[in-house]
Symmetry: D2
Subunit: 335 residues, 4 copies
């Protein structure tokens, strides 16, 4: 079975997904849509696909699935539209910045019986998969604490920040998903601290650039997440899971695995620069998993519910910062 | 100048300090006091020192300084007594489990003009000193976040836990001090989560065994501390400081620096087993610093005020857990 | 410009090159030839290429270049044949097991003005490229010593060993090439030791499975190579270059970048299993370099001369073992 | 039992041993002898020992054992003299630069039934002990290859080189001993290469500064040693043992276990500067082992025979360089 794809949006993340589709057996990139002609043409040139409008893709008989890489505020509408059109939908996180809107959208998905997979790429990284496999195999006993260090190399443009929904919904959301995946229990409460240390202008835009979060489950398992928008040494992506029997950690990836020693000491290159290089394999594996779910008619590994829950944790974190207290996730979901 | 020491208490930590005094130039171990004859005799045999009562040491003309290693609930009384007796005092943390009592005790110290150094050994570890030197030299720019991972290999006896004042005052207190030392600004607020995951009996005693803490300073710098009472792989002691220009981390110490590879992969020995082996050099350096302060008539690097502040952070953490909110340190100090 | 390729031989290494051609922009896999129908069909199925005979490929107007992946004893004949047919030739090492035959073959290549690149894949590995770049940038000063650790995970089949020309010509030949590449001077003398430690049957076949070699240049630079046919922990590929100003080393690649810690210590997965996984990127980069040489009409980075010299070092090593002495490379080349 | 020591020679290595004796339970430093008054007085001041002449120490009833740290050309005479005087003797390597003289000296030791231990400190390093224990425990199967990387931070003074007997007898001798210790079989043949790359003046003095050696045992086990007199990044001391079941390696020691990351990458401090700092624990453990041998009346772990064999390997290496061939150790011993 070959799944025929349309990619909606040919920006940075659309390019990442187009490359993944092109590199994966069982997937064909049929068409791309983007209002910016140059962006669409670049993909056409690289992969020999058609350029079509979103309407054309919606109506196309030769397209089985779409990958939504358009701006966040269009996600939920497009999900509903393509679910109703009978296409399988892969949507970049987040589904929407509003928990209520996400809940409504997921109702449509359910009603249409469409397949929806949300793009939490990190779960598909080979190292994190190996870490998860070690946890599942009982190598560290019962999970007790998850520690996630996640630092971007530098802040995004101000225009991006303004539309992003803030650091918790834009950046930490990936870590919330990873924490949920590894804790093995649903998160019950959220405590967070947030500062502006990297760039005061980010604060003027109403956002933060440096945050720490503690998540707690009903049985007392805890996860911590530390984020900053600036790590001068590259894209820092570390995970550790402590259990009753030991601990397991995934290491960072360097630009090259060499070490130079001289009178000043030992020197290794910086980390890979950002998600496009660090998670190349993960993006490809994510599409493989989506195809696998379609061909076996099973639920995809990252669902609309996962998208909802990660967003709820983000909202809870924001509320915790604002109100200076421990916030129960149910306060967000039942609001 | 040689400083002549009396050691009060010949238990586990008293032995550590006696060994440190014996190994350090400029220090002489004159006498030890302990109600348990066997404990005192063991030190006498190892180092050839006298066995005396606390009263005798207080009155002794041939003793310049005492190291207080007795049970916590005797610390503040002994500090006051020896300060009044004109001895320099080195006291193991904590000064007392009550912030009010510590404040009173420090007033006596001040009034007598005695030298008081509180035993926060980690500041004197050579690796942590190198880390601090890198921070102070501006190698990572302006400090933004401190991350402390501190895990004991196993829980202490129940009897110890009952008298310990709880994990925050007994174990995290060291990490609170390290965080204050590295943040470069006083902590303003504390958020904490605490669970019983290692041993339910610890919960029955009213304590926790697994905690995470977020500290925030006035300018928004943050520190996180993660603690557990059980790390199967040894005594896990890691510190990382992130700054505007980079990050610096201190690594763990293994039992041996070897690696074995076979069909299952690459294997390195567990970490050093606990503080006596991990911080041998730190305990010696701590006494050297105390002697240095005495001989140069300067303030010791870890003062009674440091002891007070670390305890206040512990109390704030406990309050944060109990009340589910961000606690301001001033709430504790001004109580 | 797109280079249209024919692959001769669809065995293990032919598959590696077919995959590389398929993954690289600017290259098209037009046809594959192999007397074993199933092998050729497997490549046809994977990459949609034709199956043709060697004669057909030789005569084909739609093929610009061939990759020779047939058994070693056919290499030199095929190089000559395709050079005369006006095709560019990429040939797996070695060109032949006889130095004299290689010299003759290279005369034909020269006379026909054909492009010949010899497959020394390691030079194209991204980490080794980074190491070489550090050396060339003067990061370690003037090169003094090269240390190569190269261990196969397990011995090849006996049938392979019988036709391989022995460990020096089959396995060490890659390390000889890397040593020449990094020493920055031609090797003058060779000393070698060789044993049978892994499998006595290998000795019965007249070969060795465990060898060490010292190479020396005219100015006294030295390289050492250590080889074994069995490393239980995976494919061990390390390079270190020591210079007057420091040292640079390339590290091994593990199956996953995770570490598990428990009561027995710290554990990381084994190394990648063999060259197909370890050098995936190198095989692709090698084809890219070949295409680059063709399109810029420049000499390829690994030439027939490199193939000759590596073989000469292998013969010198064998002679050193047999005669128990330091052998001058000129003894081999001028024989 | 307390062993009462006299230290002969208060230079660099005499200071190392005096410190070791002072720090070890069961040992007392009674006296030191040195024609340079200042050197002897420095030790007297540090450790409160007597200053005596060698004659006085020889005649002293309150001295059980001597540590010979005088210039190499006095070692064998002093060994014989103190063996005859009924003292136990610990002698720094080498016993003498002449194999014949060593053989004669060992005859005297045997005739007097004296205890002689030769100072091969590396065998007593805790990491190398752990490595050896792993080998002995069968963790890597049957030993096949030993790889020793041993690099001094910088060359010694010319005057030292002139009297040293050359790099093989002065520096490599330690590695020869380690190789013998780990191979588990006696070395049969030696191949060596030697260059002058660090300082031409060293060549003018008739010595080398950069060498590689291959040792082979009767069953075909091999050891390689790589030496240079200049490693800009510190004292490089690595050992790896490959066996049929895996490999075990001992890692270097850094000046501090920290890592700094910034835009240029990840940076760790240089290695410890030289043997006094790198092998502090080994020097102490060596004295403990000597005392243990005396108190249990057993052979010390490093004997006169070990001293002889390491020297014979050095002579064989020199002969291999001079004659360009594989040298059998018996050629040296039977000369």
């Amino acid at each position: 079975m070959t799944v025929r794809f349309g990619v909606l949006g040919a920006g940075r993340i659309g390019q990442v997904h187009a490359r993944a589709v092109a590199s994966v057996p069982g997937a064909t990139l049929v068409a791309v849509a983007d209002p910016v002609a140059a962006a669409a043409e670049a993909l056409q040139q690289s992969y020999g696909c058609d350029i079509r409008t979103i309407d054309e893709i919606e109506a196309a008989a030769d397209i089985d699935a779409v990958i939504i890489c358009t701006p966040t505020d269009t996600h939920s509408d497009l999900i509903e539209r393509f679910a109703r059109a009978g296409k399988a939908v892969f949507c970049e996180k987040p589904i929407d910045l509003s928990v209520a809107r996400v809940i409504d959208c997921l109702k449509v998905v359910k009603a249409t019986d469409a397949t929806l997979m949300v793009g939490f790429n990190r779960r598909f990284d080979p190292d994190f998969q190996a870490l998860k496999a070690a946890v599942d195999a009982g190598r560290i006993g019962k999970v007790e604490m998850v520690t996630i260090t996640s630092r971007d190399p530098g802040p995004p443009p101000y225009a991006y920040i303004e539309r992003s929904g803030g650091i918790f919904r834009d950046m930490t959301i990936h870590d919330f998903d990873v924490a949920r995946w590894l804790l093995g229990e649903e998160v019950e409460t959220v405590q967070a601290a947030a500062s502006v240390l990297v760039d005061p202008k980010i604060g003027e835009l109403g956002d933060f650039d440096s945050v720490n979060v503690i998540l707690t489950t009903a049985s007392g398992r805890q996860a911590t997440i530390t984020n900053t928008r600036r790590a001068t040494y590259g894209y820092d992506q570390r995970i550790e899971v402590l259990g009753s029997g030991g601990t397991v950690a995934a290491e960072n990836h360097r630009q090259a695995n060499i070490e130079i020693a001289n009178g000043e000491g030992f020197h290794r290159p910086p980390l890979l620069d950002f998600f496009m290089t660090r998670y190349t394999a993960a993006y490809a594996a994510e599409i493989v998993a989506f195809i696998e779910a379609l061909s076996t008619k099973t639920a995809p590994p990252t669902t609309g519910h996962d998208g909802l829950m990660a967003l709820a944790l983000a909202d809870a974190a924001l509320k915790s910062v604002a109100e200076g207290r421990r916030v129960n996730v149910s306060e967000i979901l039942d609001a």
